[in-house]
């Protein structure tokens, strides 16, 4: 599964390089390269095709309802309070799981990177546990914790733990040793050294971990809510399936997508802000 790979993100192409390449080509291509509407072109065409298909009857509503029908369903569910309530429940589950698993992963990753003793004590076990797919734990989690909130938070927490553990561990281990040496020789104590050198140096890697964790957080939430829940977006989708309400099913898919996009955008903004010293991220 692609989303389970924790490697570094692909860098965006250098805009100057793109611009100069486009300039050497024909004019209509450089207009495509320059316009700010270009990224919206393909989604707009897909949406238009979808709407046209529904209007002509080529796409029956039982297979895929019209975009307007999805919007209407969204509006109705918002007005009667169903959507806001379930959305809030889903979001709080996701965030609770992230808070528990993410914090644990972050702290253990940093601790095992700094302390050789802790590393030898914990890292082999954590690496072994990492090879267990989170969803393989689901039967056991349900058996232990039932289908309560605890089970869902445990599944989400387990999923987000590993990317944060691995990336914060890697980040701390790869901090430039010459900077640590400089800090020591300039009289920084352990705490100051950690705060001023180790943590900022590990931050790019930690943020990569957070981005992977957020992706896995939504994935785990969907699985948890689809299999066992009596509230939340996943529950709405399940209910809709029972009553063949394709408009609500499509609505929940769109909402999951929007939530993923939202958290990804937020982390990118945080990266630009926190790593503005780094020419690879900065905007100045």
């Amino acid at each position: 599964m692609a989303s389970l790979a924790y490697g570094p993100p692909r860098r965006a192409a250098d805009p100057r390089a793109v611009a100069s390449r486009a300039a050497t080509r024909q004019i209509q291509e450089s207009r495509l390269a320059r316009s700010r509407w270009t990224p919206l072109l393909v989604p707009a065409l897909l949406l238009a095709g979808w709407e046209a298909g529904s209007a002509t009857g080529a796409l029956p509503a039982s297979v895929l309802p019209a975009p307007v029908a999805v919007l209407t369903a969204g509006w109705q569910l918002t007005r009667d309070g169903t959507l806001p309530t379930n959305l809030a429940i889903s979001a709080s589950r996701a965030l609770a799981g992230l808070a528990v698993g993410g914090t644990l992963g972050l702290l253990l990753g940093i601790a095992t990177a700094i302390s050789v003793g802790l590393r030898r004590l914990l890292d082999p076990t954590i690496q072994a546990l990492r090879s267990v797919p989170p969803f393989a734990l689901l039967p056991l989690i349900i058996l232990w914790l039932g289908i309560d909130e605890g089970a869902k938070i445990a599944l989400i927490g387990w999923s987000v733990f590993f990317p944060l553990y691995l990336n914060s561990y890697h980040g701390v281990r790869s901090v430039d040793r010459s900077l640590l040496e400089m800090g020591r020789v300039y009289g920084m104590g352990r705490t100051t050294l950690f705060r001023r050198v180790t943590l900022p140096g590990a931050l790019p890697s930690i943020l990569v971990g957070i981005r992977f964790a957020l992706g896995l957080m939504w994935l785990a939430l969907i699985v948890a809510e689809t299999i066992a829940a009596s509230s939340g977006i996943g529950y709405m989708a399940n209910q809709a399936r029972e009553f063949s309400q394709t408009d609500v099913i499509v609505l929940t898919i769109v909402i999951y997508g929007a939530l993923g996009k939202l958290t990804d955008t937020a982390t990118r903004a945080a990266e630009r802000r926190l790593l503005r010293w780094n020419p690879a991220y900065g905007e100045r």
Binding site: G183, R196, G201, W277
Partner: protein, 248 residues
């Protein structure tokens, strides 16, 4: 906020502290890198150490500042008032220029005012709020020098600080270093592989080979010195001959 104009914090001379190294042996799993070395540096003197790569000159500096542990021998030095400038600037890229200089001030009061003044001393006041990554190599090394100077050290160790700079920037940096040294009168121990640079800057040039001191030359020429001075060129030639003879 201190009145920086009426009460300069970094201008007054701090004076130098001596270094006494005796019977020093440093080894890392193998033959000693420093082999029974004795060296006395007078307070306030500017002493350079030259030698081929691997002769132990950097290790000597790192041992004096406490980054390497000696196997044998003693080093008498006031490390609390000692600072080092490395070959790479080693600035923290996530802090702006001024904050990087402040880091050198330790627990001193008025650290930010001191840092601002020291930055002015190296001619980089205008870059105080830039990111280090946006500076040129020479500017970064000047920030590193300011970070070393801000605490008013009594001993300043230089580990080939100009090795990575272009020729013109090197000359500018040499003048800057000589200038602050003559004003603040700290002891300077300057490691370089450039004999001309060593002769230009120093009261005394010490040559190392295989962990030992093989020659020790006083440079009596008056200051300020000029590049291309005939007396300095003669001394440089003599030391270079020794260096080339020793390696073959």
């Amino acid at each position: 906020m201190a009145q920086t104009a009426s009460r300069p914090l970094v201008e007054q001379a701090s004076g130098g502290t001596p270094i006494v190294v005796s019977g020093l042996v440093v080894a890392f799993d193998g033959p000693p890198v420093i082999d029974n070395l004795d060296l006395v540096v007078d307070p306030g003197a500017f002493v350079s150490i030259v030698g081929r790569s691997g002769c132990g000159k950097s290790t000597l500096l790192r041992t004096i500042i406490g980054l390497e542990a000696p196997q044998r021998g003693t080093i008498t030095v006031d490390r609390d008032r000692a600072r080092i400038v490395f070959q790479e600037p080693r600035l923290l890229p996530w802090f702006d220029v001024l904050t990087n200089v402040v880091l050198g001030a330790g627990d001193l009061p008025d650290a930010r005012e001191r840092a601002a003044e020291t930055l002015a001393l190296v001619g980089l006041s205008a870059k105080a709020h830039e990111w280090p990554t946006r500076l040129s190599g020479g500017q970064r090394q000047r920030v590193a020098l300011a970070r070393a100077l801000v605490s008013q050290p009594r001993l300043l160790l230089f580990d080939e600080p100009l090795g990575a700079l272009d020729a013109l920037t090197r000359i500018e940096m040499q003048r800057l270093i000589e200038n602050v040294w003559s004003r603040q009168q700290f002891t300077a121990l300057f490691v370089t592989h450039d004999v001309g640079e060593a002769v230009m800057l120093s009261d005394r040039v010490v040559m190392m080979d295989r962990g030992r001191i093989v020659s020790d030359t006083d440079i009596p020429a008056p200051r300020p010195r000029r590049h291309g001075d005939a007396q300095l060129a003669t001394i440089e030639g003599r030391i270079l001959d020794l260096l080339l003879a020793g390696g073959s």
